[in-house]
Symmetry: C2
Subunit: 120 residues, 2 copies
DNA sequence: CATATAATTGCATAATGGCACAAATATACA
DNA sequence: TGTATATTTGTGCCATTATGCAATTATATG
């Protein structure tokens, strides 16, 4: 079984390996902001979050919107304040599911040659 | 506790939230290649892997090197062939550890107000 | 209504990154 | 030694994106 042939074998991995999610997490500034929010553990306003970085306020605003569109953050508006919240369960579940799907594909001595394409 | 203050609270999350890893996973072509290799389940040569995509051979070569530098792939050279292998355990562990660290920071009703900064 | 504050949006700029093509390197084989 | 095959590297082009600054919108408050 060549990797080309394995590509035709669809499974849960295909949906979980989402480049858009990782692209959102792949920027140092965004990761910094996200890390602060995760550790903070509560809903935060854009102004508060902007304190975590030396970049311009508008940049932070854009990063947060991007993280929201990626499904990593949720947002609520109250008056003139916009607050963002980490979607803990969604994020950790996405990572854990992917880890599981990868593990499923890992060949073991016991299964060597017994199955192709993620054990199927 | 503001997100700015939470930033000073160092924990396992800081090392696990590595933008370099996510940047490596954040490109559609690279994810495509990686997905093929994961499902294939064996060591593959650059030529084989290049069959998975329509991009130029040189592009694939560079992508594989990048994934290797990110710790996602391992490589061995045998004669004129270079083979890449998915580091299943390393990759799934990195994802699972991150998921765990994120969960640790998630506030629950029981812990509400009891601890700051990832429960500490 | 005027003003202050919170956040977004428009815009220009610079940096980054993916890509194709060509050339170079390395190794196997006749 | 000459040639074929596998892979890497150099280079330029183009699209995307991160950023700062200024202007704008939206809402609260005096």
């Amino acid at each position: 079984m060549t990797p080309r042939q394995a590509a035709a074998c669809c499974g849960p991995l295909d949906d979980l390996l989402d480049p858009a999610l990782f692209k959102a997490l792949g920027d140092p500034t965004r990761i910094r902001l996200l890390g602060c929010m995760i550790k903070c553990g509560r809903t935060c306003s854009v102004s508060e979050i902007a304190e975590c970085c030396v970049v311009d306020f508008s940049v932070v605003s854009r990063h947060l919107r991007l993280l929201e569109r990626a499904g990593i953050l949720g947002s609520t508006k109250s008056g003139r304040n916009v607050s963002y919240t980490v979607k803990y369960s969604h994020l950790s579940m996405a990572l854990r599911s992917l880890a599981g799907a990868i593990e499923q594909c890992r060949p073991s001595e016991a299964r060597a040659g017994k199955g192709d394409c993620c054990g199927r």
